[in-house]
Symmetry: C2
Subunit: 257 residues, 2 copies
């Protein structure tokens, strides 16, 4: 099908291929230049930016739908994607598209099933910023990273979804390790601390942080210091991936305070 | 509407009042006689037992739908109900009702929207067993407590939903306090340990447990011992509800091992 045909068909008969009233949205976090970023799409037929999201095929699993969205927008392979919350309040704003603009393409969008009420399942992923190839979808003209603390005007309640995912992520710092996928394979203690600080949005005490994170037992110190630092060059660390995985599964009790 | 009319209408036109393809199911846990119990309904028009669950009204929030289900089945007031996971795999079994039995009541159920694929949002609640008044719904003839380790034959994938909620609950023991609502207001250390053991399905070392749980700082020891115990009568404890609440929100790092 040509592109226009495909969109026309989605508006008119998409409910024959997709489940109604339920969708997925992905909050894809990356860490770059000491900033926590989130991947967004610039809408083509509406105002503002939106989270990557989509519908669930009638024969498709919900997790598979979220993974499909993530892969289509990032071209990343095997990524850990976690359901974190469902957004199902009755007052959720529905899609507001520019029906006039669509009409000029010969697409009749008014009254479509796509503007019905949707309960959306929120997923989040922590990805390696450098490996992502941001790719717009059929309803967008750009796909870009934004600092989570400096979001552009967002569609619907997507700013709330991001705030909620960030709050979930902060809470998870108390009992789950973080950093694998977000940091390079080897990193210094100040870099790891910076990641925590960026997610929490506040400074942490250096000594306390180091003592507590080493106490968790998921780090291996390498016999190698970061080059190019004149005085007291910091050591590199790696995650002990076996212990990291165990801490992910069993929880680890890390009270940053 | 008379009862039969109401059911006939639900099968035929329920999709005008409820969202399609999405439902809620509640895993309601109680603790009684040293056993972890779950509240189930015996189906009237199908074989087996089911979780209390329902559809989401088109003007109703998803959480409100779950609370409505919980209240109608238990008659409990203000209960903490938590979304824990969404079950959206593509192979989920659909409802299998006895269409013949319904037909004898003049109800045409075949081909109804109710047998379409549903993604269900799993909620769980920890309730005070003694305060619950189990009440069947329009599709059931009994509402009863069962030991989670001795379930009757279950409908659809509801046994999996319960296993998943139990596994979630076990995981939460690592970073959330538990016991408020499940235990009486004052309880002994052996009673609290028994609750943990019942949820985990295994014995714990008495001294280790006591040391670790006291270390969390959410318990207040009362100057009162349990009566009727001849030798070394155990002290009563209470939760410090302010600290308990704080630990619920911030996580608490309790590694039982």
């Amino acid at each position: 099908m040509a592109f226009k045909e495909e969109i026309r068909d989605l508006f008119a008969r998409g409910h024959e291929r997709y489940l109604r009233n339920v969708s997925v949205d992905c909050i894809i976090f990356g860490f770059h230049d000491s900033a926590l970023k989130v991947l967004l799409l610039k809408a083509n037929y509406a105002d503002g930016w939106a989270l990557p999201g989509g519908f669930i095929g009638r024969e498709e699993g919900m997790d598979e739908a979220a993974i499909r969205v993530l892969q289509q927008r990032t071209h990343l392979g095997d990524i850990y994607l976690q359901q974190f919350r469902v957004f199902g309040q009755s007052g959720r704003p529905t899609q507001k598209m520019n029906h006039e603009k669509l009409k000029t393409l010969g697409i009749k969008s008014e009254g479509s099933w796509m503007f019905d009420r949707f309960i959306t399942i929120g997923y989040y992923a922590l990805v390696d910023f450098n490996k992502v190839n941001p790719t717009p979808d059929e309803f967008s003209i750009a796909c870009e990273w934004f600092n989570v603390y400096e979001l552009p005007p967002m569609m619907m309640d997507h700013a709330d979804l991001i705030a909620d995912a960030l709050s979930f992520l902060r809470h998870q710092l108390n009992y789950r390790p973080i950093g694998n996928n977000l940091l390079p394979e080897k990193f210094t203690m100040p870099e790891l601390q910076k990641l925590y600080e960026t997610i929490l949005g506040r400074k942490l005490d250096r000594r306390n942080f180091q003592r507590k994170i080493l106490g968790v037992g998921i780090l291996k110190r390498l016999e190698e210091r970061k080059p190019g630092v004149a005085h007291k060059a910091p050591y590199y660390y790696k995650f002990d991936l076996r212990k990291y995985q165990k801490a992910l599964e069993a929880g680890m009790g890390f009270q940053i305070q």
